[in-house]
Symmetry: C2
Subunit: 503 residues, 2 copies
């Protein structure tokens, strides 16, 4: 049995990879199991070198990888080239975060008359199964944020390649494995499997200690349920699709044309196949927001090609469902004449159609958006109250030299913060910087673990758990807890930041 | 319908409290909902004052509360008095942790050419349902670690009182509510409900955003499942019973009598009704460990009284099940002649009876333990491999002036760390200090969220989630993220600890 690779521009078959057999899967898992103590035991700075080796190798193979990705995804060579560069940067970033060592949360309590010596540190969970995304073949794929942060945290990774780009995924893993081997990492540091059945087996294998997933809500929830039915339940960090809302304040209505153009640019990026695609615009009544967005879409004239035949076929079905839920189409720009084409669509809906259970509150993958207008503050608040948890959202203000002058916007920011993991002001949610303060995870059902993030320094936190050592002699403690602090990690001693933490 | 209070020494009825009606529950939840933004919005130092007010009031009412607790639990006035003092200390500790501010994990990334200004902070989840424990009416009860850490983190709490001490629970909540009111906290900061049905409704209410539970595995898993079936799933932090293993190294066999005496003192504490009760002793073959423990038990001659009639009745049933699983009884000390009495029992089992699925690997609540002997290292390792995840465990070494001389012990510590949340060396697991470096949570099924802790500074982390603000003006940011850092919380700026963090 094989997984076929297709060219979205024509539907033609590029080639195929074999599905992983049961016997092959067992070998991959056994390699991960054996690698786990080694990957966990080396200094974080060593894992940083491994990740840097992968990054450098990605850059060496950049042209080849971009060409292969373009054949399988049609996302455009410029975008894909940038994504390779970003992915290399991510790998280095998570290595740096690991080496810095604060993710270990090392703490020491000295003994008192009534309490013992306690030493606490985050330890790696063990092998992590990573289900790569279809829409970002590099940055959220086999070598994306999940894989990089899991290895950085000390966990071997077994990736399940996304069926939208099987050839690229296989090549990425081969490139990374060669780089890891050259850098001295154990062979089981990174493994890969293909095919649906192998993916299911990963989630149920006793070897696997955590799951990271980027993709659809149905896929993420299925994995989460499967993991919850294990004898030993493991955490599933599923980052699923959401309707990322954009709120235009009453003052923002004065620059509706500008906002509409930005909205179109944001929701048509990658043919609307971003998990941070803004899917709903809430504008003040009288702003004629739908007409502005429709006009901006006609002018932008995108030509959406979708990642897979199924994704393309789902777009018109979803538009019909939105119409059935009370929305009406105000603009449609068709996709290309051939290939896995889908239209870009702007719909308008009355604000009271955003009620509990409405299809309008659920994601529509692709360049499809709903625009609605609110009347007074009360109507605005109750609309936001109806929204599902989302990854990100934006507040668009009156603009001008000091946005703080927009009195309604601060309130909108506070309200939106109860519904999302990231609130942007006069900025679009689509871009997700990989930095220390990033949060890419939102309230249920945006992610299955809303306190976790799949991008940013805290991404490592998902793959560790704390262990406390009581009255243990110094030499038996994990390295970061020893008195000499050989790795120079930041530590708290009796609750205070230790002087050697300051660097 | 009422919840009856009983005296475990006689089985006589002390009195009763009414079960919470549906209408009353709605009022409690509405008060919590209204309090949430206020509790979240005040400075952590203000919540510290609220918690200090509760602590001081506990101390004022100490005698009355201890007497009431003794009538309902028969745990002994000395122990209960110490527990009140501890509980007041915990309340102050979590207040201090909140005021220190590192739990906020405040981070700021300055804008670059390619990335926006990002500011990240942990925000309170909202109302938390706390299911208090039966075995620690104060320290893990209505005003215990869960309640204190949730309020410290900025969340109102609704407690579901444990049916083993309904009168005490009602009184504790009344004392705390009066203290909170006098300290200026909103009325909904702390609420309480009674009765099984009200507990179930708490877990399914949209108002409730997280659940903390201390108790049995069946109870914890039922709540976890109920929360997972919500439309908006919420986290359940269930700390459940486990078999906390004690490993005696080959060198430790030389001081078996001393270890046996310590073991008996530990497992008979509170009639064996500790979540950290050591339930299994793994000793080297030839150590005659079972005989030593049996002798120490006879000498200690405990008189176990259990918290409830059901708990008492379950002890002999569990002993029978252990016997059916291949263990044999080597010593029994009967409980008192009357009341909710249960025997203290030492059983011995062959090490190969510790196989997958064996009842010997599951908790037996009460003063019941299993002793087993391992042969070589391989047998020791495979026995540890079979153990379920547990809260804590100990390694008992050869002792002496430098325990590091025991070459086997370091290996045992590393192995045990894969199975528990806390490893003690030459110390018993029963005591759980509330300090910065404590970890009271272990691998599944010890806790439903093994990366979380219900004791120690990190207990607050359970009740917050991060939100990142992108390109937001300073005045709209949550206070801990503002440039002036008005609360003086530790922060990272561009990944580095900011100088104002050092205090």
């Amino acid at each position: 049995v094989t997984v076929r690779s297709y060219d979205p521009r024509t539907g033609a078959v590029n080639g195929s990879v074999d599905e992983t057999t049961g016997a092959a899967l067992r070998l991959v898992l056994e390699a991960a199991r054996q690698a786990a103590p080694v990957v966990a035991g080396v200094a974080p700075a060593v894992r940083r070198e491994w990740l840097r080796a992968i990054a450098a190798s990605l850059e060496v193979h950049r042209e080849e990888l971009v060409a292969l990705a373009e054949r399988e995804t049609a996302l455009g060579e410029t975008r894909l080239d940038g994504e390779v560069i970003r992915t290399a940067g991510q790998l280095r970033f998570y290595g740096d975060v690991a080496a810095e060592g604060s993710y270990l949360r090392a703490m020491l309590d000295t003994a008192t008359d009534t309490t013992p010596h306690l030493a606490r540190v985050n330890e790696p969970l063990g092998p992590v199964a990573v289900f790569g995304a279809g829409n970002f073949p590099f940055a959220f794929g086999c070598l994306g944020n999940d894989t990089a942060s899991a290895i950085a945290a000390g966990c071997p990774v077994v990736v399940k390649a996304h069926p939208a780009h099987p050839l690229l995924s296989a090549r990425l893993v081969a490139v990374a494995r060669a780089a890891l081997e050259a850098a001295g990492a154990p062979g089981g540091t990174l493994g890969a499997v293909s095919g649906f059945d192998a993916g299911v087996e990963l989630v149920t294998s006793p070897v696997v200690r955590a799951v990271a997933f980027t993709g659809s809500q149905s896929g993420g929830l299925a994995l989460w349920r499967a993991a919850n039915e294990r004898e030993v339940v493991i955490p599933v960090f599923a980052e699923m699709g959401t309707v990322n809302p954009i709120i235009v304040t009453p003052g923002g209505a004065g620059r509706m044309a500008e906002i509409a153009a930005g909205f179109v640019a944001s929701f048509t990026l990658g043919s609307g196949q971003f998990c941070t695609k803004p899917g709903l615009l809430l504008a003040p009544s009288g702003s004629r927001a739908a007409a502005a967005v429709a006009g901006a879409l006609q002018q932008a004239a995108p030509r959406p090609l979708m990642l897979t035949e199924a994704v393309a076929a789902a777009v018109p079905v979803a538009v019909d469902a939105l119409v059935a839920a009370g929305a009406s189409v105000v603009a449609t720009v068709p996709g290309p004449a051939s290939g896995w084409t889908a239209p870009a669509v702007v719909l308008e809906a009355p604000v009271d159609a955003l009620h509990h259970g409405s299809r309008l509150l659920e994601e529509c993958f692709g360049a499809v958006v709903v625009v609605t207008e609110y009347g007074d503050t009360r109507q605005f608040e109750s609309a936001v109250e109806q929204l599902h948890g989302a990854l990100a959202g934006s507040v668009m203000t009156a603009g001008g030299p000091d946005v703080s002058d927009d009195a309604d916007a601060a309130h909108a920011v506070r309200l939106l913060a109860t519904k999302v993991g990231r609130v942007a002001v006069d900025d679009w949610p689509t871009g997700v910087a990989y930095t220390w303060a990033q949060q890419h995870g939102g309230p249920w059902p945006a992610t299955s673990a809303p306190a976790a993030t799949s991008v940013g320094a805290a991404a490592l936190d998902r793959f560790v758990r704390p262990v406390t050592y009581q009255s243990a002699p110094d030499g038996w403690l994990p390295v970061p807890l020893r008195a000499a602090n050989p790795w120079s990690v930041p530590r708290r001693i009796d609750g205070a930041l230790a002087p050697d933490a300051i660097r």
